[in-house]
Symmetry: C2
Subunit: 351 residues, 2 copies
């Protein structure tokens, strides 16, 4: 591989520079992405076409000196492959045709069909081949809890009324869903690795909406189960795992013990403070507020330096935003960020 | 006063029982509130009528054995009294007719007119008189930063693109707005206290959307300025101050040092852990997930006991939700919560 700084940083091994990639780096802020999406007809058609998914995955790498590629896909492929019928109305969030709320619906919920997910594994193979060793490829999945939120609510939610009602009134039902989700995520990520993914990331987008006790019981426990089931190596090399709970800053110590090699951080926590709390147990990925990219290159550079300085050098830092890049971001500002991070990477990253 | 447990708990003095009140306790989950609001014609007409504001403030106290009343008002009265033109479209959030984005708009922004806010102080006087010493009355304001979010964005936002762009690109402009907001909040809360409010709460609804460094500079610093400017006593008694940053669990130590007597907690932090972190510097208010109230009385009671147990007895706990009660909450479930908290209040609350 030409540039494996990303994989080394995740494993807290010395790297040549602080690697950077950007959540949702293949996305609507790029005109070429919008052109491909238009050609595909819809977001879901784009995600389900291995050729087009490969095309958009590579687009940001043509523009920016990024240190990793991430599979272009959606976090809701698994419930779709459980038969729930995913769709996206234009300008709206995801919707499921069928929800999982009653005892009967929970009982009948199948594991995700890997056959139905073949388009994902085909995309992984194709992207990996197209990358030709340039940078590593990240596979990913939504976390069992985050998937459950959508499966119970039937789409996005701002109060999680239905899934939290289930959590408090019928915790047994939610546990049954989470158990099926965890098994499905393990099979899904292992198949991505078998197809060529060189690192995996578990996105727990909504775990941060839970109380401390509920987070540990309904989100973290199933992340742990997922990591315990994952292949540790592929192609003779360790496959690093990243765990990201948005809004999870209070739980870092517990998260550092769940089997992940690296934790994703949003921007609410100072990365130096996070490092003091997790010690040498995990690497850290993050943690710039995506809103910084709305400001001019000078302030982008200033914030990048602040985060690099706060981490303080040495191995174990992957630079990233603390959430997906906004569709309103000028691509030039992403360029400014990537350059600033590489320019100010501490030589100490080697130490 | 017949029941001053709330004031004593905020000052970490022994109380007869763990006091409880509920954020947004006068709200849409109560049919009698909806009836009054309908009579008023709109939310804003309700908030701007001292008589109707008094009426809805007292409604939850008729139903439930609550230990405090809170002024019925809106957090955006101050920018409205700066001339920005607040309105609420039916079923939508708040909107301002004028925003504060340019250098010129910031320069011309006046302090809030206390004359324009007279309806609030009249409501406070009327409510206080109507309470007749039954329980204490809480006054409140939005925090300088939270007000600025709405003033710059012109309404609610899910990414705070405009206010954060200003924060990173032109921090001087945001500081100028925050300075005017802080001065206005001081005058506003002092006038509420002069009119009869016996405790005050500063709602920092959106501080939790900031990075660690930005929170300290743009939200917490101005909360500190507000508390430094507030009258300490009224009617010969200390006026306790509560500071609540939703999503602020990572910053508790710094918040405990900003001049507040008590900190509001959302549900993402375990209250026992929060107590260990702040020690005896402040009391704590919280911290049940409002979603617990969607579940049956048995699980409401179980969660209430869990929180009381986690706090662990002794003075300094005011029970509350970690955010406003949802409009979808059955009133009977609020009753179950209030009763459970009183029933399971530790005798140790006296110790």
């Amino acid at each position: 591989m030409k540039n494996d700084n990303f994989l080394r940083a995740l494993l807290r091994e010395p790297a040549d520079r602080t690697p950077i990639w950007i959540m949702r780096q293949a996305g609507r802020y790029l005109p070429e992405y919008n052109a491909t999406r238009k050609r595909a007809g819809s977001f879901l058609a784009l995600a389900k076409s291995p050729e087009l998914a490969c095309e958009v995955t590579l687009q940001p790498l043509e523009r920016f000196d990024l240190d990793a590629a991430i599979l272009f896909s959606d976090i809701l492929t698994i419930p779709d492959a459980m038969g729930l019928g995913l769709s996206f109305a234009e300008g709206e969030g995801p919707r499921f045709a069928r929800t999982v709320r009653t005892e009967e619906e929970v009982r009948r919920l199948p594991l995700a069909s890997l056959e139905e997910l073949r388009y994902v594994f085909d995309a992984v193979s194709l992207i990996r081949k197209s990358l030709a060793g340039r940078v590593p490829l990240i596979g990913f999945s939504g976390s069992p809890f985050t998937l459950a939120c959508y499966m119970v609510e039937g789409g996005g939610s701002d109060d999680f009324r239905l899934v939290k009602s289930m959590l408090y009134a019928r915790p047994d039902l939610l546990h049954a869903i989470l158990e099926k989700n965890a098994q499905s995520v393990v099979a899904y990520l292992n198949a991505q690795v078998a197809a060529g993914a060189q690192a995996v990331m578990l996105f727990d987008t909504w775990g941060g909406a839970l109380s401390d006790a509920a987070y540990r019981e309904f989100s973290l426990a199933y992340a742990r189960q997922v990591f315990a089931g994952l292949a540790r190596t592929a192609e003779g090399r360790t496959v690093p795992r990243i765990f990201f709970t948005k809004g999870g800053g209070l739980w870092l110590e517990a998260m550092a013990d769940c089997g992940a090699d690296a934790l994703g951080l949003d921007w609410t926590i100072d990365i130096g403070e996070a490092r003091r709390r997790v010690g040498d147990r995990v690497a850290l990925q993050g943690n710039m507020d995506p809103a910084v990219l709305f400001s001019p290159p000078e302030s982008i550079e200033r914030e990048a330096r602040r985060i690099l300085g706060s981490f303080g050098g040495g191995p174990g830092h992957v630079f990233n935003l603390g959430h997906g890049v906004s569709q309103f971001t000028p691509p030039d500002h992403v360029h400014a960020l990537v350059e600033a991070v590489h320019r100010h990477s501490p030589g100490a990253a080697r130490a």
